[in-house]
Each structure stands twice: as structure tokens, then as C-alpha cells.
């Protein structure tokens, strides 16, 4: 970081700001992952494939129905909640036989299936959608910010707030927290654990639908588009502490800035390695994350 002062703040400020905005979407993907981990204690290896599926859903909603991605969110969020609920309730849960190792493999299997169905149907082509506002910008000081990214940033703040309210005030939210803390105790007090697991998985998947709606105006979709985000999301989740929602948020913003700055200093492909190296280092030396709740 000693070279930082070499660049004037006129370049640095926009890079940091853009990093924060990218980081906001990363945080949303990570939020879904960490929510599922916090309650089910599994890493959902199908997260990336589900994000890709959501991106295609947004793409098709625009292509076939002419739905604006932001409007499509209203339909797709509950739809993906349902998909996530069903996957956990009818496939992952029953296949697991109570073993974590099995859950790992089932989510990996789901990832392979979803990704390759998309590959089969859509081929490897990369697609984008054209929106009239995609290139609109807002100027803040020396920074020029794309409007869709500003919208995404605001939407992520809203979603986080909504999730927080759900977890704190609703009965279901209380049940989710109870199951996360003490599964057996929750079961004994009459909570339907299988249902709560599925609801949590559904919420995590719904986060992906929203993320997809926020991404597609400026991003592209192909059958492996989700993977790029998910490895970053893994990094964020580990960095922020598995299961910690606040950790995912802060971690997401942090990684967004790191990526933006390392892209600035090291170039694109090395910036990608930077993320992985950081991921491995964090896994090896701080597996409970910087904000992990449990030692």
C-alpha cells in the first residue's frame, strides 16, 4: 500500500467508490451464502449455479416479456424463494441422511446439473440486454458513477435492512435464529426444523434473484457467469465470519474496494489471483473470519 500516495485522489476516490458499489452486490450474494451457512451449517456449492439461473431468468423476462430487470425482481424474488425452499425441502434435506459430507456432495451435484442444463439450452454464448438507462451516469466530485450501480447499491442497503427486520421482528425470523443457535432445543420447543431450513435456503436463494436483477443491466450472462461471483462470495463469507450477516456486508464492501484497487495497480488477471490468494490466506490463518462469532 506504500505506492498509494503515488496516485492522486482524483483517480483513487472514484476507484474506491466504484469498488464499494461492486462490493455491495458481492455482499448481497455473500449474504445469501452466509445466511444458509449460519443456519444449516453447510456451504451451498450450488450458490453460483443458482445465481447463473437467476441471471438467465432476468434475461428471459426481458427478452420474452419485455420486463425491466428492476420490475422483474418483484416476480423473480418470490419465485426463487420458492425454488430454494423446494430444493432444500425435497432434494437436499432428504438426501443428506444427516451427514454434512452428503450435503456437500448434493449441493455440488445440483451445481453441476443446473450449470449444464443452462449450457445445454443456451450454449456457451454470452448475452447482454440493452436498456436505455444502462449508460446514464451521476457525477460526484471527480467520480463518474453508472446509474445502475448506484441503484444496486441502494437496493442492497434496503434488502439488508429488510432481512434484518425479518430476522429481528417476525416469528419466522425468531425461529430461524433459534434453529441456528440450538437445533435440538428449537425442535423440542415445537419448531419445524425442516421447514425453517427450507425457509432459510429460500431466503438465501431469493437474495440471488435480487442480485441478478441488479447485475444484469451492466453485466452479462453465460452458463458460468455466476461462478465468478461465488468464489468471491466464499471469500467474503469466510472473511466476514461464516454465518455473520454484518460480516458479509462489511466483507463484501471491503473485497469490492480491494478488487478495484488491485485491478488499478496490478491489472485484471492478477487482480483475480489476488482474491484467491487472500481467500486461501484467510482460510488458513483466520478460518473464523475477522468478525467470526465463535472461536
Amino acid at each position: 500500500m506504500a505506492i498509494l500516495p503515488m496516485l492522486s485522489s482524483a483517480i483513487l476516490f472514484p476507484a474506491v467508490l466504484n469498488g464499494l458499489m461492486t462490493g455491495a452486490v458481492y455482499a448481497l450474494v455473500a449474504l445469501g451464502l452466509t445466511l444458509i451457512y449460519g443456519v444449516l451449517h453447510i456451504i451451498n456449492f450450488a450458490h453460483g449455479a443458482l445465481l447463473t439461473a437467476a441471471l438467465f431468468a432476468v434475461f428471459l423476462a426481458h427478452r420474452w416479456l419485455g420486463l425491466d430487470p428492476y420490475v422483474a425482481a418483484v416476480v423473480l424474488t418470490p419465485l426463487f424463494f420458492g425454488i430454494g425452499y423446494a430444493l432444500q425441502r425435497f432434494i437436499i434435506g432428504p438426501s443428506a441422511h444427516g451427514e454434512d459430507r452428503n450435503i456437500l456432495l448434493v449441493t455440488l451435484g445440483l451445481a453441476v446439473v443446473i450449470e449444464n442444463i443452462l449450457l445445454y439450452v443456451f450454449r456457451a454464448d454470452t448475452r447482454t440486454i440493452d436498456l436505455p438507462y444502462a449508460f446514464d451516469v451521476i457525477e460526484i466530485g471527480t467520480a463518474v458513477l453508472a446509474v445502475p450501480r448506484v441503484v444496486a447499491c441502494a437496493a442492497v442497503a434496503l434488502v439488508t435492512l429488510a432481512l434484518w427486520v425479518i430476522m429481528r421482528t417476525t416469528l419466522t425470523g425468531k425461529a430461524i435464529r433459534a434453529v441456528a443457535k440450538e437445533k435440538l432445543g428449537a425442535e423440542l420447543s415445537g419448531i419445524d426444523v425442516a421447514h425453517i431450513y427450507a425457509v432459510t435456503f429460500g431466503l438465501g436463494t431469493a437474495c440471488l434473484a435480487i442480485a441478478a436483477c441488479l447485475l444484469l443491466p451492466t453485466y452479462y450472462v453465460n452458463p458460468s457467469a455466476g461462478n465468478a461471483f461465488v468464489l468471491i462470495a466464499f471469500t467474503i463469507v469466510v472473511l466476514g465470519g461464516m454465518g455473520s450477516l454484518a460480516g458479509a456486508l462489511i466483507g463484501g464492501l471491503f473485497i469490492g474496494v480491494v478488487e478495484s484497487l488491485s485491478g488499478l495497480y496490478l491489472g485484471e488477471s492478477l487482480g483475480q489471483i489476488g482474491i484467491f490468494v487472500m481467500f486461501i490466506l484467510v482460510l488458513l490463518f483466520r478460518p473464523n473470519g475477522l468478525f467470526g462469532e465463535r472461536a
Binding site: A96, D100, L105, L119, P223, F276, V277, L284
Partner: protein, 336 residues
């Protein structure tokens, strides 16, 4: 000897195939099947016997393949010692990743994640580093002489990979019968209890990962010798990580014959899919994924588990309570 008899007999029988048919299609199919069985046997040693599920065995496959190719092309090493150097390099990578991961206490999901990340880092490095040919890939020079481990017909390749598969099975069987194998299984079943009894769990897991990596690296070395071409996506891509775990899990995880049986099933399904649908991209993998989920849902100990169940009577002994793989405590995998 009776413990090794079935392996030797199976290898001897399979060795007759090239004498019965000269069909390149059949031999090629079997060579690729054995290749996956070998890579899968490596995964099986660590995952099946040690309970450490790696999602990144491509790291070892790719290292074996690249080191064999680079030793020959850049340093003029003969193919046969080059093969051994490739295996050693793969084992070294396994030892390093194993030492780093297990010393940090990673297990369950965390271990799966870190192995995946290591494989991806190697893939990205291989796709930009000049020594691997970067994006263009590495071509092994065509040199059809036995001294260069290249042959006119496919039969010698077939016998080489068959012998490698046989050796890997005998090695795993020997480990099964050894004190080391007993420790390894104890660590899989209950690491804390094993430690309490004085087993050095970390050292056992690192040793298992080294041996596991060596076996999978051998598959990588063979790959490049057989196909004569390599790029970062083939060497370190997720396809081999997935097929290496698919074969033992479908065949029967933690059994000597599981990887070979599973590789047969997986590759046959792949061929049938191709015949039925033409060469549609992705469809074979869709089938693999579905089979993986179905096997875990219906018969967690794979096809061999299914045979056992029939033998003992389905009602008397459901697979979940079979002694070889008791249910793990739900909180064990995720926590560190």
C-alpha cells in the same frame, strides 16, 4: 493372498481385452474409464478412507500432467522417468496443501473450499505462465517409440493404465490392512476420539493426502502421455475434480473396487448420453450430477453398498446404519 486375489484376477481378465478386439473405440473408452478410475482411487484414499472430501483433486492431476510434459519438452527428460517425476511433483503439491490445510485445522466444508481454491489458483497461474504455454497449451512431440512411452496402437497404453489401476488398488488394499489404514479410518469415524487414543491425526491426514495426490497425479501423467496435449482448463479444470470424486462415490466410497466400478458406470452413462442425443454440450454432465444426487439419496455407499444390501437382505440392514459409514454428528463438518 485372498485379499489380493480378486484384484489380480480382475486385472488379468481385463488385460485380455486388447487380444479380443482391436477396436479403437472400445479401447479408447476403456482407457479413459481406467484413467478416471485411477484419479478416483486417489480421491478415494483421502475422501473414502480418511473422510476428507476434496473438491480440488485437479491440483494433483494437473501438476502431474504439466510436470511430465514440461520435463520432456523443456528439459529433454525421457518419458519414463518423466512420468515418475510427475507423480513425485503431484505428491509434493499434495503434501504442501495437506500440511497447510490440516495444520490450520480445516475440515468438512472448509477443507472442500480450500482445495477448490488451490486448484483454481493453479489453473489461473497455468493459464498465464509462459512455461505451461499459457493460453495456447502444451503439445508433447509425437515420437512413436516405446522408449518415449508412445505407441502405434492403443493396446500398450491400455495395459499401462490397467497396471496402474491394479497397482493403485493393491496399494489401497495394503493401506486398508495396515496400522496406518486403521488410524486413517479412525480419524474419519471420529477424529477427537482417535486423537484421544494417541493417533497423530494431522500427520495421518497429511500422509494420506500425499499418497492420494500421487495416485491422482499418475492419472494426470498418463493423460498427457496418451493425448499429447494439455492446457490449463484440462489440467486444472473442475471437470477432473468432479469426475475423480464421482467415480468412488457412485461405485462405493471407501472400498477398493468402488472407483473402478464407478468409473465404468459414469463413463458408460456418458457414452449412452452421447449416443442418444448427439454430442450436445453439457448433457452428459447433467446426467452425472443427477446420478450423484440419486446415489447419495438412495444408496450412500454406492453400488457396492447396494450389492451388500441385497446380500444381507434389504430389510435387515439399511445402508445408513451399516458399520462402514455410520452417521456423522451434524455439527462436525462445519466447525473448526
Amino acid at each position: 493372498m485372498t485379499r489380493y486375489g480378486p484384484i489380480v484376477a480382475a486385472v488379468a481378465l481385463l488385460a485380455l481385452v486388447p487380444l479380443l478386439t482391436a477396436s479403437n473405440v472400445v479401447l479408447n473408452f476403456l482407457v479413459v474409464t481406467f484413467l478416471i478410475a485411477l484419479a478416483g482411487q486417489g480421491w478415494n484414499l483421502l475422501g473414502g478412507y480418511g473422510g476428507q472430501y476434496s473438491f480440488g483433486h485437479a491440483a494433483f492431476f494437473g501438476t502431474g500432467a504439466y510436470v511430465t510434459a514440461i520435463a520432456q519438452m523443456q528439459y529433454g527428460v525421457n518419458a519414463w522417468p518423466g512420468f515418475l517425476i510427475g507423480i513425485a511433483a503431484g505428491a509434493a503439491v499434495g503434501a504442501v496443501i495437506g500440511a497447510m490445510s490440516f495444520r490450520s485445522g480445516l475440515r468438512g466444508s472448509y477443507f472442500a473450499l480450500v482445495t477448490l481454491a488451490f486448484a483454481e489458483v493453479l489453473r489461473i497461474i497455468a493459464s498465464v505462465a509462459p512455461i505451461t504455454g499459457a493460453g495456447v497449451g502444451t503439445l508433447l512431440k509425437l515420437d512413436l517409440r516405446p522408449e518415449a512411452m508412445q505407441f502405434q496402437s492403443r493396446a500398450p497404453f491400455y495395459w499401462i493404465i490397467l497396471v496402474l489401476v491394479g497397482l493403485s488398488m493393491i496399494l489401497v488394499r495394503r493401506i486398508e490392512d495396515s496400522r496406518f489404514g486403521a488410524y486413517l479410518i479412525a480419524v474419519r469415524e471420529n477424529e477427537e476420539a482417535a486423537k484421544a487414543l494417541g493417533v497423530n491425526a494431522t500427520a495421518i491426514k497429511i500422509a494420506a493426502m500425499t499418497a492420494s495426490a500421487a495416485i491422482t497425479a499418475a492419472a494426470g501423467c498418463f493423460y498427457v502421455q496418451y493425448f499429447l496435449f494439455l492446457d490449463a482448463g484440462i489440467a486444472y479444470g473442475p471437470w477432473i475434480s468432479i469426475e475423480a470424486l464421482l467415480a468412488p462415490i457412485i461405485g462405493g466410497v471407501g472400498t477398493v473396487a468402488g472407483p473402478l466400478l464407478g468409473a465404468f458406470v459414469v463413463k458408460s452413462l456418458g457414452e449412452i448420453t452421447k449416443l442418444a442425443t448427439g454430442d450436445a454440450p453439457g448433457l452428459d454432465l447433467v446426467i452425472y450430477g443427477c446420478v450423484l444426487i440419486l446415489v447419495i439419496a438412495l444408496t450412500p455407499r454406492g453400488i457396492i453398498g447396494l450389492f451388500d444390501r441385497f446380500r444381507r437382505g434389504a430389510a435387515a440392514r439399511p445402508a445408513a446404519s451399516s458399520p462402514a459409514l455410520p452417521p456423522q454428528r451434524a455439527e462436525e463438518g462445519g466447525h473448526v
